[in-house]
Structures are given as C-alpha cells and as structure tokens.
C-alpha cells in the first residue's frame, strides 16, 4: 500500500506494507541511504533518525508510526550548510569506516538541540546506545564538545 511520509521537509511516498521498518522504507524505497542497517534490533544506533525532533531507531519504528510526523535523516540535518556537528566531525577527523557515523551525528544532534552546553558525562550518557567498532568514541566526544563551543 502507499505510505506518505514527510522526510527532510518534503513529502515522499512509498509502496510498502505499513509494518515495514521505517529504516527500509527510507533506505531502499526512498533511496536515502545515509541511514544505515547495523543490527535490526535497536541495539546499535546506526539507523538513528529524528521523528518530530526525537532520535529513534528507524529499524524499530514501523513506517505507519511515522505517518503525519516530521522525519529527519542525515541527508536533511541541515538545510544547505553543514550542521555545526558535521563541521566539527570533519575538523576532529572523526570517521574511520564511517558506517556508524550518520547515526552518531543524528543522536548527537538531538542532544545539542535541547542542551547547548552538555557536560562530558551528559554526552557519554546520551550517546552510549550508539556503537562504533572503529574506536572513534573519543573523537565523537571531542566533536560534540567542539560543536557546542562553536555553535
């Protein structure tokens, strides 16, 4: 069936079962491949998007649950300029393989939207659900702190 979604400020429709995880609708139906599949079980954070500003695991969200809401993916994080987090990510040379990074940035963006000057403890506590196998954790923390400073 046709599902109409609002993604990154635009409407988009997909032919999919309403129970399809939002992750697959975003990635494979709508071809927005910046959001990644890491575990399918809400354990790793690679699929993190925003729904009405809240960071959620899109693999744990049925597409039908996102209808009528504002979905933001990494592609829509910033209208035309890099987001301060993205600038900080580049300045701190954060990514290695890069596969977890969209989810990391989306999760971090949720934090900075509500807490402009997070402490290190708040950052770590907020980000702890996002796994990185390349060991970029220390740089992620520094990038979030940098983005908070420079915003």
């Amino acid at each position: 069936m046709t599902i109409a979604l609002t993604i990154n400020g635009k409407t988009a429709s997909a032919e999919a079962d309403p129970q399809t995880p939002l992750l697959w609708v975003i990635r494979e139906h709508l071809k927005l491949t910046g959001t990644n599949y890491g575990c399918g079980s809400g354990l790793c954070g690679a699929c993190t998007v925003h729904i009405d500003g809240k960071a959620v695991a899109s693999c744990q969200t049925a597409a039908s649950q996102a209808v009528g809401k504002k979905i933001t993916t990494i592609e829509g994080l910033s209208a035309d300029n890099p987001h301060p987090l993205q600038k900080a990510w580049i300045a701190e040379q954060v990514p290695q393989c890069g596969y977890c990074q969209s989810g990391q940035i989306m999760k971090a963006a949720e934090l900075l939207a509500s807490n402009k000057k997070p402490t290190r403890e708040q950052i770590v506590s907020h980000m702890d659900g996002n796994i990185c196998r390349c060991g970029t954790y220390p740089r992620i923390v520094r990038a979030i702190e940098r983005a908070a400073r420079e915003a």
Binding site: S41, C97, R139
Partner: protein, 737 residues
C-alpha cells in the same frame, strides 16, 4: 577505450604507445611495477581527460587524477596512498582528485602480488612503487617543459604543480604542460636516490584532511549496502549453521508463497531467498525451516573442545607443527634450575563490523557486474568469474568502501553468494546478511589454548622458552590447503606474534597443535597477536614477580632492542609508572607488528585499572600507548588507528565471546555479543615516534598490548592471574575465589 599495456620485464618503466592521448587533451602515465606482465588495463577514470593507465592523469585545466590501488576500510589509505604520489609528483594537493583503481595486475600489492589488503601492509607495500610513479610523472613533465623551453632539464625544479626555470624566471603549470606534452615511449628511470629526501616532504609527515571525511559526515552512499541498480531484487542466504554443511530439505513452497518472494533456491552451503524488497526477504528468512546435513562440526561444543585443547597441550607426546626454533629450547628447559609454566586460553571472537556483509551482483549474457566492499578485489574478480562461468575479463568489479573490514572481508564468499543469487533469477540482486546471519555464519578468530614453559637458570635468567598453541588453522580457508603444505604447515595467521626477536631469549620454540574441529574461522584484526602476545607479556609479568623485579625494570633488562626499550620506557613515563594510585594499579606490555623483510613497528602500552570486587567488573581508567611506526606519514590518522586498535582489542579482552553448542553459534546480535560502548572507553593517550625513513605497519599495531597490559595491572592490584580471554566479570570473580 580499453588499451592493453605490454610490459617488458620487471622494471616499472614501460609505457604503451596506445596510452598517448590524441589532440593534447591531457597526459597519462602508464607506469607499472611489480613485474606485472601483459596486464589488461580497464582504463575507467571517470571525468579525467587523460585516460589513465596506472596512477596519474593530468588534465589541461590542471586537475590531477590519482588512482588509489588499494581498498579502504576506514584506516585512511585512500588518502595516504595518493598523497605519496602527489608528494613525489610535487602536485598541488588542492588540485588532486582521487579515484579507486580498477582491478588489474598493474595495481597488485608488491608483497601479495594481488590487490589484497591485510597485515597492515598497504602503505608499507605501496610506498616505493607509488613514490616512483609520482617521480616519474614529474620527470616527464620536466622533460616536456625543458624541450619546450630549449633548456637542459637539469636547470629545472618544481613547485607544487609548476615546473620552474629559475635562470629565466619562466614557469609552466602542470596543466599547461599536459596540454602540449606527449608521454614518452619509455618512462624515465628513477633510482631510489633520486626520490625526494624525507626532509623535503611537503605533505607527508603533516596532516591533510582525509578525503572522505565530508562524505562520511553527511551520509553519502559509499558502501555495498547502499548500491541501487535499476531492476534490482534483494536476496539473502541462510547459511548452514555448521561449516561444510548444507540443506537437505526446506519448506520451499511455504517460502515461495510468501509476499514478494521471487524464488527460494538450494545451494550447497545454504538456502537462497530472493524477493522484491529486503523486508519481504528477511520476513521469509524468519519462516525458513530447513534440515541440515550432519558434518564434522555438527556436534562441536566449544567449552568441551577447550578442555581437549588443554589436555593436548599438557601431553608432551602430543606433537604439533614446529613453527620456528632458535637454539634448543626443550633441552634448555629440561636442564633449567627452575621452570615457570602457565596456560592461557582465549575464546572465539567475532569481527562485529558495523556493516553486515553485503554485495550486489548482476549476471547477464555479457558477464557479471559486482559491487562489493572487499579486502581482496583480485579474488573477487576471480571467484565472481568462476561462479558466473565467465572469463575474468567479463567481470566488472566496483570496489566500494567497507563498513568495517577487520579481516572479515579478507575473503569473498559473500561476493560468490550475490553472484549465485543473481544467476539464479537472471536479475541484479543486492544480497544483505541480517546481523543474526552475520553472527551465525560468522568466521571467528580461532579459540586457543596456549602453554608457556620458561626455563630459568639459578640467577633467574631465562635460558629457554617454549610456546605451545592449540587452535584451528585459518590458512586453508583463506589460501587453500596447498599453501599450508607449501609453508611446511606453518599457519602464520594462527601463530603470528609468538616469536620474541626483541627479547633476550637464547633458545625459543613455538609449536602449533592443529585442532581441526570444523568451526568457521578467519583472520581477525591483529591476527594471533591478540592471544600470543597476551600469553608472552602476561608470562613476563609472572617472571618479574618470580624474580622479584618491577615489571618495567624487568622488561627493560630483558629487551635487547633500542627501539623496543624506548616505546616501553616512554609509555611508562607518560603513565607516571612509579606513582602509586589508591585502589588502582598499572600494567605494562610490549607489542610488535611486522615480519623481518618489511620491518617491525612496536608499541609500549600501559593500562590503569580499578576493580569492583562484588561484580568482578574491571574498569580501565587510562590507556597510554607509545608507537614507533618508522616514518609517520599522517600523524593524526596514525593516532586514530592506535586509538581504534586499543578500543577494539580492549573490547575483546574484556567482553567478547562466541560460544558454539551442538555445532551452532549461540550468539546472534549485540545483546548477547557485547562490545565496548562509549561509556566504557578509558582516557586514551597515544604518542607516535619516528625512528626511520620508511612507514611501518600501523592499522593493527596497537592490538597486541592491550589485553596483557590489563591482565598485568590486575596482577599488580590483586596478586591474581587472569588467564582466560575475555576477562569477563564472571571469570574475574572466579579467579579471585
């Protein structure tokens, strides 16, 4: 235009006439190296006007396209390899565009003679060939400018992307020269002494931004799982739970009746499911009911196997393959005044790369097109060709970035899977493994049991060292049984790091007892050093205690190499080794990476821990790691790799464990295969030391020191030895009694 290149001999100096551009549209350099004969080059630089054959194309507008011959898995080689070319070319880096080289023998890694990425040897292996290629291109540009100006080339120099004739004040940009120059039929010979002196480097040694940072911070499609091909279907393979097994039957009709399912296919090694969407394929996978053939590994129980490994180690009549020996360690130990022995075990560990294995393939009457993130592009082409039943020239492979390699992508069975699926339905298929499949069908670092026996003389000096190891072999999977036979049965993947070239150990023997259990095994980051160096460095602390020496002093007395002493000493200095900490302790370890022909890089690692006795939880507060990497080409990226390896190995040291029961892997996702998270990461301080003019292996360097540094800190804190990796809270409590 696809122009075969004829290479003569092994010198990297021949250029095919067919590579010359018509009409002065740009300049390409057909430099080859490594003895590739009659290489077929698929020149597919998109957008570069000079049709590239090997590494460099320069367009009249000055844009320089440099091809990178190696895959990228996050370690940053797709920046540093082009940078090496740009350095000797004396290019303006801001004018450089990087492209992935196609698969062709001309791009083979000189050590592996294949496009193959393992052993942290990418930068080290391509170092001289790429420098030479850049220097040759620069020389061609200078010769062309000299001819244009009618001056001897010896009067010319270069500035970034510019040839300069100081005497007359004339300058020509590389782009301008590309507009009129013709590549010579014979490339200029560049001797090593004609390359830049390290002191003259403009880029190497200082950090440039990695070329893929912006893409990775904005979700650009980079990975095999991102591929979108018109008309593509989705597929997955449910592999038999046990290696070598396959389906005897499955509920084919029920699966095929499910929504969106196009086909369900029996393969030798599993069931293939193909459908219109990935969600339908995964839904069908959940409903699969299959019977599997009983094979050798079908009754494996890893806990039971470990006991058998230990029994074998303890039985001196149970012989292994002698991997290497210096002197007569058995005699020295037999005649020693005192023998110190201990046993060390390590569980299977899973790569847990963030991108589950994925590959897209399209088999047509013309051949097969493949999109894959892979550590072995050359092998991908060969196996895709074989699977599709076509000649290798009919395979077009797009080498994409990997969402983590760590050795998991060092073989290509997932590429074969995608080709099989596409062949079965006659359409392009994107194969994605679920995380559960990625774990169940994972290939693991072998489980090991090790026994070390060290003979000491009356004064406590080491006279002999015996290192026995029981584990599966990995070579047959990666390279075939023939390779194991050729190497006299020595499986380097499984025993690397057991040697002790930098310690004063006069007699040393390593032997490997093969345990062929039928479990899926593979190379895992750092390969054997993760457990062999654990045993060595934990034993050294035990010996230090036996001889009543401080572990740092003991090591500095025993190390016989200045570089090795320096990294250990410096790490201890950074950690303020002598300072006692209330409720915490420090542990130290040395580690190395490399093989004699290419050189060794080294680390000294110190861990600071505390312990919650009630829970058995070890908290690592600090890790200090000092690395001697020869010549650091990109210091910040090297630091990133050290941090990466420290965290990766710490995760395995404390948390990671695969167990096998009745032949099947018991774990399935991140809830039961725990990996280190941000909250568990210590403060990490790394320091990079330059000790020479050659870049030495980096990517896996900091793997080997972490587990022993933590175990040694635990020993200092509690006087208790931890000997089973991972050092989980349960095992800690058990050890404390």
């Amino acid at each position: 235009m696809n122009a075969p290149i004829n290479n003569k001999g092994t010198l990297d100096t021949s250029i095919s006439r067919r590579s010359l551009m018509q009409g002065g549209a740009g300049l390409t350099f057909a430099f080859t190296f490594g003895g590739a004969a009659n290489a077929f080059v698929d020149a597919n630089t998109q957008g570069a006007t000079g049709k590239l054959n090997a590494y460099v194309a320069i367009a009249p507008d000055g844009i320089i396209t440099i091809l990178t011959p190696a895959p990228e898995m996050g370690q940053g080689v797709n920046t540093v390899l082009p940078l090496i070319v740009a350095e000797e070319l004396d290019a303006d880096w801001s004018k450089v565009k990087v492209q992935q080289a196609p698969v062709d023998a001309v791009y083979n890694h000189p050590v592996f003679r294949s496009q193959y990425q393992v052993a942290s040897l990418t930068t080290r292996g391509y170092w001289m060939p790429l420098r030479t290629a850049g220097a040759q291109a620069r020389r061609v540009l200078m010769d062309a400018a000299a001819a244009q100006w009618g001056v001897p080339v010896t009067e010319l120099t270069t500035e970034p992307s510019t040839v300069v004739h100081a005497a007359s004040g004339r300058k020509l940009g590389y782009g301008e020269i590309a507009g009129f120059a013709q590549a010579p039929t014979q490339a200029p010979e560049i001797k090593p002494e004609q390359l830049k002196a390290v002191a003259q480097f403009r880029f190497l040694g200082k950090d440039v931004q990695r070329i893929d940072m912006a893409d990775k911070a904005s979700g650009k499609p980079l990975y095999a799982s991102d591929v979108q091909v018109p008309g593509m279907l989705y597929g997955t393979i449910a592999r038999a739970p046990v290696r070598g097994s396959g389906p005897t039957s499955f509920n084919r009709d029920a699966i095929k009746a499910m929504p969106g399912i196009v086909d369900a296919v029996t393969f030798d090694h599993g069931v293939g499911i193909i459908g219109n969407t990935i969600e339908q394929v995964f839904a069908a996978r959940q409903k699969l009911k299959a019977e599997w053939k009983q094979v050798k590994g079908s009754s494996v129980n890893s806990d039971k196997d470990l006991q058998e490994y230990l029994a074998h180690l303890r039985d001196p009549n149970h012989k292994g393959v002698v991997v290497r020996q210096t002197g007569d360690a058995n005699a020295a130990i037999a005649g020693a005044a005192r023998i110190v022995s201990d046993e060390f075990v390590s569980d299977y560990v899973y790569h847990a790369q963030m991108e589950p294995l994925s590959c897209t393939a399209s088999v047509t009457s013309d051949g097969v097109e493949v999109w894959a993130g892979t550590q072995w592009p050359t092998r991908c082409v060969a196996e895709a060709a074989k699977t599709a039943g076509v000649e290798p020239q009919k395979v077009k492979l797009h080498v994409l970035q990997m969402g983590g390699g760590f050795g998991r992508r060092a073989y290509v069975e997932y590429v074969v899977d995608a080709v099989l699926l596409s062949k079965a339905v006659g359409k392009p298929v994107k194969m994605i493994q679920s995380r559960e499949e990625d774990v169940h069908a994972g290939r693991f670092r072998p489980m090991t049991a090790q026994k070390l026996d060290v003979g000491l003389d009356a004064s406590g000096k080491i006279v002999g060292w015996r290192h026995r190891l029981a584990a599966e072999t990995v070579y047959p999977y990666l390279y075939g049984q023939a390779r194991l036979d050729n190497d006299k049965g020595v499986d380097f993947i499984v025993i690397a790091g057991a040697d002790m070239p930098f310690y004063d150990v006069p007699a040393h023997v390593t032997d490997h007892i093969y345990e062929d259990r039928g479990v899926r095994v593979a190379a895992w980051r750092g390969i054997a050093a993760g457990y062999t160096n654990f045993a060595i460095e934990a034993m050294l602390d035990q010996l230090a205690r036996e001889t009543e020496k401080d572990p740092l002093e003991y090591r500095l007395g025993l190390l016989k190499d200045a570089r090795a002493k320096k990294v250990v000493e410096r790490a201890a200095q950074l950690a303020d080794w002598g300072r006692k900490r209330e409720g915490r302790a420090l542990g130290i370890a040395f580690s190395k990476l490399g093989v004699p022909p290419v050189g060794f890089s080294m680390t000294g690692t110190v861990a600071e821990i505390s312990l919650d006795r009630a829970s058995g939880n070890i908290k690592v507060h600090n890790l200090w790691c000092v690395a001697d990497v020869g010549l650091p080409l990109q210091p910040d990226n090297i630091s990133a790799q050290l941090e990466s390896s420290l965290i990766f190995s710490m995760s395995a040291a404390l948390k990671e464990r695969i167990s096998i029961k009745d032949g099947a892997v018991e774990q399935s996702n991140f809830h039961d295969y725990g990996v280190i998270r941000m909250s568990e990461v210590p403060e990490i301080k790394v320091e990079v030391i330059r000790s020479g003019d050659i870049p030495l292996p980096v990517g896996e360097l900091a793997i080997g020191g972490t587990a022993p540094a933590i175990a040694n800190a635990f020993l200092a804190l509690t006087a208790t030895r931890l000997r089973h990796l991972p050092m989980s809270p349960e095992r800690v409590k058990q050890a404390l009694g």
